[in-house]
């Protein structure tokens, strides 16, 4: 890619093999090349077991790749993590029961060593951003699932990370809440300009949110297609009813199906996730 200079995240030949013993070795990812530019919203979509969550964790240096290089802001991923370039949001909100909403958002700032005044100010600002400014003193159990996830987003943004990594953040929410949260994330993204990498298994969600949708296939996890989403911004609920939106949804769906069909159907039916043992590829990638 010509503009790789301004890429915030560069993935070069990323491969990941889980389990070294040849009985259990599974190729989770193979030959992943991807550049993510500053301020982009990139979704990773694919069937279960395509390694999209693994790829996200490799970008965030929570998992070390078996091969290839991850360059973030021009430095290795582990350096970027130690520089606190990442904000993470998981499928579960992972709020700490013993901390109030405000104190949960302050947590990364505490670890970073920010002053008390800055922590208070940032927490308030971030919680206002996710429209939970009135819930500072509440405990997580007093909030709904959607609200908890908004707290998690506020927390992830608290120290102004360059990159926001989101792993199926709305996967556990009902459809209506999910759509509302999608609009919310777009609003926040437009206001903060943060680069977002977003893992999802929802096609409408990926199309609605993203600048680019990266379609992946399973066993081994590969990028099969990258689709530019040229829907105009700002996007809102009406966007979901435009013709172009439906065309793009169809395009993503077909890209997913084509690759799925190409795989061994029997293996697909029998093995849902990373349980697949592809011995030849596994050995090839290890060696």
């Amino acid at each position: 890619m010509t503009d790789s200079d301004e890429a915030v995240v560069q993935l070069q030949g990323i491969g990941k093999v889980f389990g070294r013993g040849d009985q259990v070795a599974t190729v989770a990812l193979e030959g992943i090349d991807l550049d993510i530019r500053s301020g982009e919203f990139v979704s990773l979509i694919g069937p279960s077991g395509c390694g999209k969550s693994t790829l996200l964790r490799i970008i965030g240096d929570l998992i070390t790749p078996s091969s290839g290089a991850v360059i973030v802001n021009g430095k290795p991923a582990d350096r970027a993590r130690r520089d606190r370039d990442y904000g993470m949001v998981f499928q579960a909100p992972v709020l700490f029961d013993w901390r109030t909403v405000e104190d949960n958002v302050k947590l990364p700032l505490e670890i970073q060593g920010a002053s008390a005044a800055k922590r208070t100010a940032r927490a308030k600002e971030m919680l206002d951003l996710v429209e939970l400014g009135d819930f500072l003193g509440h405990y997580p159990y007093q909030l709904s699932g959607g609200m908890q996830q908004r707290v998690a987003i506020a927390r992830a943004l608290a120290f102004e990370p360059e990159i926001l990594l989101m792993d199926e953040p709305f996967g556990a929410l009902d459809e209506m809440t999910r759509e509302r949260m999608n609009s919310e994330v777009l609003r926040i993204w437009e206001r903060t300009g943060t680069t977002v990498v977003f893992v999802t298994h929802s096609i409408p969600e990926a199309v609605f949110l993203s600048s680019r949708v990266v379609v992946m296939s399973a066993r081994p996890g590969r990028i099969t297609k990258v689709i530019d989403v040229d829907l105009p911004r700002p996007r809102n609920e009406d966007t979901r009813e435009t013709r172009r939106y439906f065309e793009l949804v169809t395009e993503v769906r077909e890209a997913l199906r084509r690759k799925d069909g190409g795989d061994d159907e029997a293996a697909d039916a029998g093995l849902g996730g990373l349980g697949s043992v592809d011995r030849t590829t596994a050995e090839g990638a290890v060696g």
Partner: protein, 289 residues
């Protein structure tokens, strides 16, 4: 230890219900309503007991009436050969000492096993095996080692009983942290020390209090059983043994009742501390409703 595991499990499932921390008066009425059936059964039981013993004409020697036990409590409260109040105090001090020693030892081992996987692999199976031993059988040995008249021998008995639930529960609390929480901390580039302080220890607190509540009961058992095998005369265990051999079963019963009351108060003090320290925890929220 299986009791501890059960309690942990029930705490886990109790999570999620929404208690409201509303007005105190409303809570008071709810609490009263919650405890009222138990209170009625308790008082009713005493009345039935009293009536049954009178009607069936059972001799006080076999089964004294509640009123006779109460009278024995009053008559032997502050002084005499079977002075109950100072004895209960002495036994409580032994139990408290044992609880402190056992808790500290349990915490030290728990932190070591949580920190070093090798320590966990070496110690946990041993601890489980050791817990299967009927520990009260060690009481004569403790008296021998630490001196039969020395309260420390009773404290050590209590401490051994307290040690195992504290160690097992706290280890579990320190180790069983949501994997995503650890990933989150890793994404913040948090040190192990920070993770310990900000995640593992708070996570272990409910487990710790579960162990302490067990420990309150166990430490009294340990102290009294230790006393059975000899020691200073003004302790509950000695009074139970001596009064029984003197056929003063009303006093034996009075000592048992006082021991039970001490245990219940001890337990609830720890529950109160727990509520103050971890008000966010699920088991406490759900107990409101």
């Amino acid at each position: 230890m299986s009791v501890a595991a059960g309690r942990i499990a029930s705490q886990g499932s109790a999570r999620g219900s929404r208690g409201d921390r509303g007005r105190r008066s409303a809570r008071w009425i709810r609490n009263l309503r919650f405890y009222l059936p138990a209170l009625i059964v308790f008082v009713g039981g005493l009345v039935l007991w009293e009536a049954f013993v009178s009607v069936a004409n059972i001799r006080a020697f076999i089964f004294p009436k509640p009123s006779a036990i109460l009278a024995a409590l009053q008559a032997n409260w502050g002084e005499g050969r079977f002075a109950l109040a100072p004895s209960a105090q002495a036994t409580l001090i032994e139990a408290l000492g044992g609880l402190a020693i056992g808790t500290v030892a349990g915490l030290i081992v728990a932190f070591a096993t949580a920190r070093w996987v090798s320590a966990r692999a070496a110690l946990l199976p041993l601890a489980v095996a050791a817990n299967a031993i009927p520990i009260v059988a060690f009481a004569p040995l403790m008296n021998n080692w630490f001196g039969v008249l020395n309260p420390l021998s009773k404290m050590m008995m209590a401490a051994i009983l307290v040690f195992f639930p504290v160690m097992a529960n706290v280890t579990r609390g320190l180790v069983q942290v949501e994997p995503a929480a650890l990933e989150l901390m890793r994404s913040y580039a948090a040190t192990e020390w920070t993770i310990l302080r900000k995640v593992r220890i708070p996570n272990a607190l409910p487990f710790f209090f579960t162990a302490l509540r067990l420990g309150a009961t166990l430490s009294l058992i340990g102290a009294i059983v230790g006393e059975y095998f000899g020691g200073a005369s003004l302790v509950l265990g000695r009074i139970i043994v001596q009064s029984a051999s003197a056929l003063r079963f009303d006093i034996t019963w009075a000592a048992i009742v006082l021991g039970a009351a001490t245990g219940i108060v001890f337990y609830f003090v720890i529950v109160l501390v727990e509520r103050a320290v971890i008000p966010w925890h699920g088991s406490l929220r759900s107990s409101d409703s």
